[in-house]
């Protein structure tokens, strides 16, 4: 008896191109219109993940809040839009790029702080400057945290995935920076005798210099309109208060106090803001240019500008005494205030808003 082995048919590959049939070449997400000629990787990762009854969502939202408001509602902001789905974040962030950037920043700061401390740089900081860092940078970290929490709240409400993810990464950047400052001050404090780690919060809560800032931040956190929060953070507070303090004070003054470390830490936030601002300008410009709702949106944004701008202006003015505290004086408050107004004018111009009433008020 002979044994014959049954031939084994070669198993067919399941790789792309191993067979040709209807649809076998359809290798792109095809349910949205890319902003450019081809969809970016960011768009593929982001667009339409949060559905919409006007796009693809056949059965409508299937759970509602007790008052009948659905899972996502266009009514969660007073701004109106003909098509919310048009917005794309300028920074094109999805998870991988976000972690890469955040991780790079964390590494950069760690290098600066570790090497600076190792070389004894902290001990060479000017004494008056150390107190400024302790009291005022220590207070300012809470403002960053407040903005991070406000945007964390806001990322629940946007009508598309693109809006919510842009607000989410904004929150992530703000919260990282608040923690960067906290840990930075904690670590340099180890090299400085008598450095009071709790002084920053005490100044934040009680020092008249900081009460305007705290009030402005709390006003943002108390807003119930998520786009108002996003607007107030990026269009108003950042240029009028945050950049004023970061760029107009820390970044310019520190080097003359023998401090090369603090500007490196704070520079990360300046870079973060450029990206957050670009996203915010893109969104608010889209809403101002909306053919149907643009006029009403502009009026709405002007209202937000005056409300939060008034708080921010007051906050900025209250910060003025800080410019007198370093031993070596490099900048004058009126000069940097004017720079911040120029920044605001530029932002207003990009969005299509007239900021003169706020600046001149």
């Amino acid at each position: 008896m002979s044994v014959t082995q049954e031939p084994i048919a070669p198993r067919k590959s399941a790789a792309a191109g191993s067979a040709t049939f209807a649809g076998s070449n359809s290798r792109k997400y095809n349910y949205f219109t890319p902003k450019g000629r081809k969809a970016s990787h960011y768009e593929d990762m982001t667009v339409d993940v949060q559905p919409d009854p006007k796009r693809h969502l056949l059965q409508d939202w299937i759970i509602s809040f007790a008052d009948g408001t659905p899972t996502y509602s266009e009514s969660w902001t007073a701004a109106k839009c003909s098509d919310w789905h048009v917005f794309r974040a300028v920074d094109q962030e999805w998870e991988r790029t976000h972690y890469q950037r955040q991780s790079t920043i964390v590494g950069m700061i760690a290098n600066v702080v570790d090497n600076g401390r190792r070389s004894g740089a902290v001990k060479r900081f000017d004494k008056a400057w150390v107190k400024v860092l302790q009291d005022h940078l220590g207070a300012y970290k809470h403002a960053e945290f407040g903005l991070g929490m406000a945007t964390m709240q806001a990322q629940r409400y946007g009508y598309t995935q693109m809006i919510n993810n842009a607000v989410l990464t904004n929150s992530s950047y703000k919260l990282r920076f608040a923690q960067d400052l906290t840990l930075y001050l904690g670590e340099i404090g180890m090299d400085l005798e008598g450095f009071d780690q709790d002084a920053g919060k005490a100044h934040w809560m009680e020092d008249p210099i900081w009460q305007g800032v705290r009030r402005a931040v709390e006003t943002i956190g108390g807003s119930t309109d998520y786009l108002e929060q996003y607007f107030a953070v990026n269009v108003v507070f950042e240029p009028m208060v945050a950049e004023l303090f970061r760029s107009g004070f820390i970044m310019q003054v520190a080097a003359s106090q023998n401090d090369f470390m603090t500007p490196s830490v704070v520079a990360a936030a300046e870079g973060d803001y450029e990206r957050n601002l670009a996203n915010a300008v893109e969104l608010f410009r889209m809403l101002v240019l909306d053919e149907t709702h643009g006029t009403a949106n502009r009026e709405l944004f002007n209202g937000w500008l005056m409300k939060h701008g008034g708080e921010a202006k007051n906050a900025a003015n209250q910060l003025q005494p800080i410019w007198s505290q370093p031993r070596v004086k490099i900048t004058q408050f009126p000069d940097v205030l004017e720079q911040s107004h120029n920044r605001l004018r530029a932002i207003g111009s990009e969005i299509g808003l007239d900021v003169r009433p706020l600046i001149e008020a």
Binding site: A22, L58, E95, Q153, E218
Partner: protein, 556 residues
């Protein structure tokens, strides 16, 4: 090299301890005094006890850790391509990824959104740090899963179904249960949704079946990408489980919360079981070609992770706080898994509906039968003939199984609560809510709609609780439509304008693929519309007949 020359000794300097760093970060928050934070998502719970963050992690260690995890994931995806993974992957498996990966990114990003809801409610600042990291984690999960799906689309033999993924998610008869899952995380009472339903039950219990069972099965089918991505995702879950438990501990000591907590644990456990076990159970058991009798069945995995790990070590200890745990529900869920064939009936339902799906579903064959009978004794007697019919009717020219009267399958009612149909026929029930009749798969789902999702619970006002809404019965959307027209409207047609995206087989050959004309001539109906139109007498008989079940006609 002498010890004194080690790099760590050269570079070492005094740093901050992890505990001190976490404490300082937690001190970033403050109690507002000028303007109170907007409390925009309501809850009926009272939260007074400050929650603790068990993880004590800060962002400067979090981001590099996550980047490293990402590097491993993306490196592995590259390696899989270089190793020609798709030459050997099982198409039966990858087809089911069209369904799974259409669903999962939305629940993930919903979890991210829900952190806004609990972030505002947590007293003190410590746990907020945990919530912020979970927010970014979930952003990671959603977009890393979209990336994996794109990768399959670019490299697998049949990209149709991946290419329409998010549009299909919003429309399909099967993805509707995934939307119920995701919306449950973010809508209604903030604690019910974002703490109990999401973290205490879905993440603590059911991510094990989602993110561990499924990767194991993927690897058995030659797919090394899914385990790479999902085990990396699962590694973030311990942080989320910690957040959920910590928040739970901040509400459980107040007896005023117990009534609501019992309600929510009951609703959340049952609905997670109904949804996750239906979808994941089907994919793990029916999407595989691996029939190793030594591997654990989904039911066995369920017993290990849900019953032993979760029920016995997480739920039961809650009783010491005075919480009533519904042991009967856990046992009933287990019975549904092993005695009432819940997963098998779901797989049967999915396959009956193949013409309105957006992935291919292959027939189960002799090799599968043997494994099912070994793991689930009695399986063959109930399902063997069905799958033989399915294979026979998978050829174009046959009347497709959804409408073929020879088979004997009776199309099910939808459950208004979990959105999975009422597949265990003897448990089918109906009730009237606000003057309208609804159908349910089980008593707990009836209770969930009528009692739990209501403005009042056991005499207590629950103004924050959500409501079921929308066109919850998928069949209602296409009632009276020719199935071919419905498929076109769904967008489940390939680029030639006539060949269906779904197919009841794995032939990658135009001559064997179903086209619109092959299914045309049959009208879809709404079981809910039909039962509502019945007289009381007719309805009573219909319910009795439905509960009696059906018998698949013998296959000769």
């Amino acid at each position: 090299m002498p010890d004194s020359l080690s790099l760590s000794k050269i570079t070492a300097q005094k740093g901050m301890s992890i505990g001190e760093a976490a404490r300082r970060v937690a001190d970033l928050g403050w109690t507002p005094s000028y303007v109170q934070e907007a409390m925009t998502f309501p809850t009926d719970y009272k939260i007074t006890k400050t929650a603790r963050d068990p993880m004590k992690q800060v962002l400067r260690s979090y981001f590099p850790m996550q980047e490293e995890k990402d590097n491993r994931v993306y490196g592995a995806l590259d390696a899989a391509l270089r190793g020609d993974m798709f030459r050997d992957v099982e198409p039966r498996w990858v087809e089911w990824m069209k369904l799974f990966l259409a669903i999962i990114p939305f629940p993930e990003i919903s979890a991210s959104r829900s952190m806004a809801m609990v972030g505002r409610l947590a007293p003190g600042e410590e746990l907020r740090t945990g919530f912020t990291m979970q927010m970014v984690d979930e952003f990671r999960h959603s977009t890393i899963q979209m990336n994996l799906k794109k990768w399959y689309m670019e490299n697998y033999v049949d990209p149709a179904g991946f290419d329409i993924t998010e549009a299909a998610f919003g429309k399909c008869y099967a993805t509707t249960i995934g939307r119920q899952f995701a919306e449950g995380f973010v809508t209604g009472d903030a604690i019910t949704a974002a703490n109990v339903y999401l973290t205490v039950v879905a993440e603590t219990a059911f991510t094990n079946t989602l993110f561990v069972a499924m990767p194991s099965e993927a690897a058995r089918n030659g797919d090394y990408a899914l385990p790479t991505v999902f085990l990396s995702v699962q590694s973030d879950e311990s942080r989320h489980i910690g957040n959920g438990h910590s928040m739970l501990m901040s509400i459980i000591n107040d007896p005023d919360n117990h009534q609501l907590l019992e309600r929510d644990l009951r609703y959340a456990f049952w609905q997670n079981h109904a949804i996750v076990d239906a979808a994941v159970g089907t994919i793990v058991e029916y999407g595989t070609t691996n029939r190793d009798k030594n591997k654990e069945s989904y039911a066995e995995l369920w017993h290990r992770w849900i019953y032993e790990d979760y029920y016995r070590t997480y739920m039961l200890p809650l009783e010491k706080y005075g919480i009533k745990i519904h042991h009967d529900d856990v046992n009933a869920a287990w019975d549904r898994m092993v005695k009432k064939n819940y997963v098998h009936k779901t797989a049967q339902f999915f396959s009956v509906g193949w013409p309105v799906a957006f992935w291919r579903q292959e027939a189960q064959t002799d090799k599968d039968f043997e494994w099912f009978e070994h793991k689930y004794p009695g399986w063959y007697a109930e399902f063997g003939d069905y799958w033989k019919w399915y294979e026979k009717l998978s050829t174009p020219g046959e009347t497709n199984i959804l409408f073929n009267q020879d088979v004997g399958y009776v199309y099910p009612h939808r459950c208004w609560s979990c959105m999975v149909p009422a597949l265990i026929r003897e448990d089918f029930c109906v009730d009237t809510v606000d003057g309208k009749l609804y159908t349910y798969c089980s008593e707990v789902c009836r209770w969930t709609h009528k009692v739990a999702f209501s403005a009042e619970y056991e005499g207590r006002a629950t103004p924050a609780m959500g409501r079921f809404s929308g066109r919850r019965e998928w069949e209602d959307c296409y009632a009276g439509w020719d199935v071919a027209d419905a498929i076109q409207d769904l967008g489940f047609v390939r680029s030639d304008g006539k060949t269906l995206v779904p197919q009841p087989h794995l032939h990658f050959d135009d001559s064997k693929m179903w086209k619109l004309d092959d299914v045309r001539g049959h009208k879809l109906g709404s079981p809910l519309q039909a039962i509502r139109a019945m007289s009381d007498v007719e309805r009573e008989k219909h319910i009795a007949d439905y509960r009696a079940g059906f018998k698949i006609n013998p296959f000769n």
